[in-house]
Every structure is written in structure tokens, then in C-alpha cells.
């Protein structure tokens, strides 16, 4: 499931730091597990409102699916009033921005969690399974034979839960690292406080990811991207494990965006030798009539490889994070299916263990994404002279 490479190099903490780290993580995990329980209470209550229609298993499955998807409002938890049967959601609404022959903006609270039809400048919209559909005034949704809605989906540029989390992560990163930069200026290049934890990571990315894969001469211009992408993915992965229940890096749109940026950087910083390697991989070692036969096969493969590399990046991150969330939530869900003295604690223990692994995966996936991006940049920025020198090292890293 996990695409692991050598991880032992990334363990940088000293023994003392590791101890405190483990302590912090344990507390964090306890909260995570607790929140999982809290969320599932909601599942159970929801089930009691709709008895007979769905089994508990289906209920949990739906909950997990819902969790994996992006959302138009920031929901912490929900509860159902037993007397009236109404569901209360605790959280805050987010702005909805739709481009549909003109700009439509309103708060997501108007949808009432999919219950109400919203009228905006003469158009009607309805929320169905976390997606906005254009409907008529009554909010009718038409289905095809596979029970997929056939209504028109307008261009939805809303500030969703994931966007909010990205903004929060971005601000956190800016605050964290600009204060680190300032502390350098103040203390004469010696890090203070949290900088002592982050500096080794920054140095690790510089020395063992950037310099090792791109080379001493050209690594500098890629450093900002590598550092940003590493901390962005890592922080978002970690937020995914908190009770906020966000799954940003497990969203295909997010990983696609990252992969496209990697692809663009690779393409635009590619050297002559890089392109020559793609369109003329055998070089001058063979006469042209010999090349033609081989190149009919070889060149398309090389060109395909250009796109497969970032595609693998986006699928790897998406699949790993989604799989992690599904496993974790399924194990938590098992507690409510077993409902016994043995099954409950067993599932709890399992989900706790998986949570620990997920913490590792959160770091690991950030590391792998950064590592592979650096590797692709290394290929792109390579000139012929360096090729000979670096060839072996790159093969080792692969």
C-alpha cells in the first residue's frame, strides 16, 4: 500500500527530542481516536433516525465517503434532536462562489446541508452529496439509470473546507518560517526554539534531497519549491490526522495541482541534454537509418514517460492518503459494529496502531513527493558532463 523507500535517513531527532515527540504524538493520537469516536456517535444517532433504510455498515461506509470528500461548510460534529428529529450541525458556513454566466456568491449556510434550494440572481442551486447542482425552483434532481444526477454542475470556485485548510496551512507555514528567518537575523545565524526542530529538516532537504539529486551547481533554484512542497504536504497530512477531519492531500484535485506544478517546472527548466535524451536517446552512437526503427518505439515511450512521472506522483499521494483515512475510519467504525467487550478494544487498539503508522506515512509521503520531484528536476537540469558523474547515484536512489 505504501510506496516506501529508505526511511532511516530521515530520522534526525536526538534521543531526547524523540522522547518528547513520542509524548506529544501520543496525546495527539488520543485526541484523534477520541474525535473518531465522537464522529461515529453521530453515525449511530443518524442511523436511529432512519431505521430500517440502511444497515449500520452502509451508514459507516457513507460516513467515510462523506469524510473523504470536500465540504462546503466547516463541520465539527452534528447531533440529532431526539424529540423533533432535526439534525443540528456545529461548525461554521463557508462562502460559495459559483461562475454560471455571472458571479454568484452566498454563504453555504443557505443550503441548510442540502435541505434547501438556494436562489441567486435568478438561478437555483441545490447541494447534493457535497456537490452543487443547478436545479429548477423546486430543487428537483434528475437521475440516470445508475442513480447519478444528470443536472448541470456549474463552475464551483467556492472556498471549501479544503481551501480553508490550505489557507490555514499556508499562513502557518509563512508565520513559522518567516519567524525562523527573523530569529536567524537576530541571533547571529543560530536557530532558536522551534527552529531547532525545523532546521535539521531544512538542511536534510537541502543536502540529501536537493544536492544529492540535482547537484551542487543547480540545486539552489529548486530549493524554494522543494521546501514549500515538503512542508505543505507534511502539514496538510498532519492536519488530516487531527479531529478537524480534513482530507486535503487525499483529494485528487490537490495532488493533481501539485503534480502539474512539478511537471511545469521540469519542462521549463529542462536543458538541451534533457530534451535530447528524450528525442534522441541513443545519441550519435548509431547511424540514422538504424535509429529510425528503434525510435518508432523508443521516442513515444520517452514522451509518455514525461507525463507518467508526474501522474505517478499525483496518484501515489492521493492513494496513500485516501487509503490511510479509509483504513483508519473503517477500524473506528468496527468498534460500533462489534459493540462487544472484545471487539471494541481490539478495534480501538488496531486503529491506534494504524494512527501511529499514519503519522509515519504523513511524513513519508511528503518526503517521497519531494524526493521524486527533486529527482525529476535532477533529470531535467542535467547537462551531459554531469550525467556521467551523477548517473550511479541516481540509480541508487530509484
Amino acid at each position: 500500500m505504501y510506496f516506501c523507500t529508505d526511511f532511516k535517513d530521515t530520522v534526525i531527532c536526538s534521543k531526547m527530542q524523540r522522547k518528547t515527540l513520542v509524548r506529544i504524538l501520543s496525546v495527539l493520537l488520543f485526541i484523534v481516536s477520541f474525535s473518531g469516536v465522537a464522529q461515529d456517535e453521530h453515525v449511530e444517532e443518524a442511523k436511529e433516525v432512519l431505521p430500517g433504510n440502511k444497515t449500520k455498515k452502509e451508514e459507516i461506509k457513507e460516513f467515510i465517503n462523506h469524510h473523504l470528500m470536500d465540504s462546503h461548510d466547516f463541520n465539527f460534529f452534528g447531533s440529532t434532536d431526539e424529540e423533533t428529529g432535526e439534525t443540528h450541525h456545529y461548525g461554521f458556513p463557508l462562502p460559495v462562489i459559483i461562475w454560471d454566466g455571472g458571479l454568484h456568491t452566498f454563504m453555504s449556510s443557505k443550503f441548510h446541508h442540502g435541505e434547501d434550494v438556494v436562489e441567486s440572481n435568478g438561478n437555483y442551486y441545490k447541494l447534493y452529496h457535497s456537490k452543487i447542482y443547478k436545479t429548477n425552483a423546486e430543487g428537483t434532481i434528475n437521475y440516470d439509470e445508475k442513480h447519478h444526477p444528470t443536472n448541470v454542475r456549474p463552475l464551483d470556485l467556492s472556498i471549501t473546507k479544503s481551501v480553508v485548510m490550505m489557507l490555514v496551512t499556508g499562513l502557518l507555514l509563512i508565520w513559522l518560517f518567516s519567524s525562523l528567518a527573523k530569529s536567524y537575523a537576530k541571533n547571529g545565524s543560530i536557530p532558536r526554539g522551534i527552529g531547532r526542530f525545523f532546521e535539521p529538516i531544512v538542511l536534510y532537504i537541502r543536502d540529501d534531497i536537493a544536492i544529492a539529486n540535482i547537484g551542487e551547481n543547480k540545486y539552489k533554484k529548486y530549493m524554494p519549491f522543494l521546501l514549500t512542497v515538503f512542508f505543505f504536504i507534511w502539514f496538510l497530512n498532519m492536519f488530516g490526522l487531527t479531529p478537524l477531519g480534513v482530507n486535503v492531500t487525499g483529494n485528487i484535485a490537490v495532488t493533481t495541482a501539485l503534480a502539474i506544478i512539478v511537471f511545469l517546472i521540469t519542462t521549463f527548466t529542462g536543458t538541451k541534454d534533457y530534451w535530447k535524451h528524450i528525442f534522441d536517446p541513443l545519441g550519435d552512437g548509431m547511424p540514422w537509418y538504424g535509429k529510425i526503427l528503434i525510435y518508432i518505439i523508443l521516442v513515444p515511450i520517452e514522451i509518455l514517460g514525461l507525463f507518467i512521472k508526474p501522474f505517478a506522483l499525483l496518484i501515489r499521494l492521493y492513494a496513500n492518503m485516501t487509503a490511510g483515512h479509509v483504513v483508519l475510519m473503517s477500524l473506528i467504525g468496527l468498534i460500533f459494529i462489534f459493540k462487544s467487550w472484545i471487539g471494541g478494544p481490539l478495534s480501538f487498539g488496531l486503529s491506534f496502531a494504524i494512527s501511529l503508522i499514519e503519522l509515519l506515512v504523513a511524513l513519508l509521503q511528503a518526503y517521497i513527493f519531494t524526493m521524486l520531484a527533486a529527482l525529476y528536476f535532477g533529470f531535467a537540469s542535467e547537462t551531459h558532463a554531469e550525467h556521467e558523474a551523477h548517473g550511479e547515484g541516481e540509480i541508487q536512489h530509484l
Binding site: M69, D70, I97, L155, D156, L157, S158, I159, T160, S162, V163, M166, L167, G170, L173, I174, F177, S178, L180, A181, K182, Y184, A185, S189, I190, E199, V202, L203, R206, K220, M223, P224, F225, L227, T228, F232, N251, I252, A253, V254, T256, A257, L258, I260, I261
Partner: protein, 166 residues
């Protein structure tokens, strides 16, 4: 695959690109460049400090070697001076001895010569005195002898008798 495409939210993609690129630019300006520069400066500083420490160590070693050399030179010089002094001393002593000896010899020779000359003059004087004394005696004797004629004649006869014609 259909689900993947269905799940793809263009809005999220759009915001992700914008947020990420903005974040990249902001962090590059306000965080990564200062941090990496500071770290580089620090590393450079450490490297320089190590280099200069190494240089200082070498210099120190050179200095020590120089000192050692100087000390050795001084020691050799002292040794040489001592040796020279000893030699001079020995030479002086031997010279003095020699001089004293020649002087002594000279004095002895002088003395001997003086003694000799004294002796000679004494002898000469003695001879003179002896001669004059013997002349006086001889005179007196002759005078006394010649006063007695008979005896003279007797003597002449005796002598003539002794001096038989050989």
C-alpha cells in the same frame, strides 16, 4: 476511474494552484532565502573559522619550530663560545707557561753568564794577584838569593853538574 474524474473538483484545483504559487513566492522571499542564506553564511563562517584555526595552528607550529631552532642555535653558539673560551684559556696558560719558561731560561742563562763572567774576572783578578804576588815573592827570593854569591856559584856548579853533556 469514473469516480476519480467525478470527484475532481475544479474549484479546489484552482484554489490549490493559486494558494500554492502564492505560498511558494511568499515563502521564497520571506523564509527560504533568508534561512538558506543564514545557514550558508553560518556554514561558511564555520568553515572559515576552522580554516583560520588550522592556519593558526600551523603558524604556532612554525613559531615553535623557529623557537626550537633559535634555542638550538643559541645553545650551539654557547657551546662554541665555551669551547673557544676553553681553548683561549688553555692557550693563554700554555703561552704563559712558555713565556715564563723562556723568561726563566733566559734569566738562568743570564745568571749563568753573569756567574761565568764574574768567575772569569775573579779568576783573572786572582791570576793577576797571584802573578804579582809571585813576582813580589820571586823578586824577594831573587833579591835574597842574589845577595849570597857563594851559594850562587855552588848552584851554578850543581846545575852544570846535572847538565852533563848528553
Amino acid at each position: 476511474m469514473e469516480k476519480l474524474i467525478n470527484d475532481f473538483s475544479f474549484g479546489l484545483f484552482f484554489w490549490q494552484i493559486i494558494i500554492f504559487v502564492l505560498l511558494l513566492l511568499l515563502l521564497r522571499k520571506f523564509a527560504w532565502k533568508p534561512i538558506l542564506n543564514a545557514v550558508n553564511d553560518r556554514e561558511e563562517g564555520i568553515k572559515n573559522a576552522l580554516d583560520s584555526a588550522e592556519k593558526a595552528k600551523l603558524e604556532m607550529q612554525n613559531l615553535q619550530a623557529d623557537n626550537e631552532k633559535l634555542l638550538q642555535e643559541a645553545r650551539a653558539e654557547r657551546e662554541m663560545m665555551m669551547k673557544e673560551a676553553r681553548e683561549i684559556k688553555a692557550k693563554m696558560i700554555s703561552d704563559a707557561k712558555e713565556e715564563a719558561k723562556t723568561e726563566g731560561d733566559k734569566m738562568v742563562a743570564h745568571a749563568q753568564a753573569a756567574i761565568e763572567s764574574e768567575k772569569k774576572s775573579a779568576i783573572a783578578e786572582l791570576k793577576q794577584q797571584v802573578a804579582s804576588l809571585s813576582l813580589e815573592i820571586a823578586e824577594k827570593v831573587v833579591k835574597h838569593e842574589l845577595s849570597d854569591k857563594d851559594k850562587q856559584l855552588k848552584l851554578v856548579d850543581e846545575m852544570l853538574g846535572d847538565a852533563k853533556l848528553n
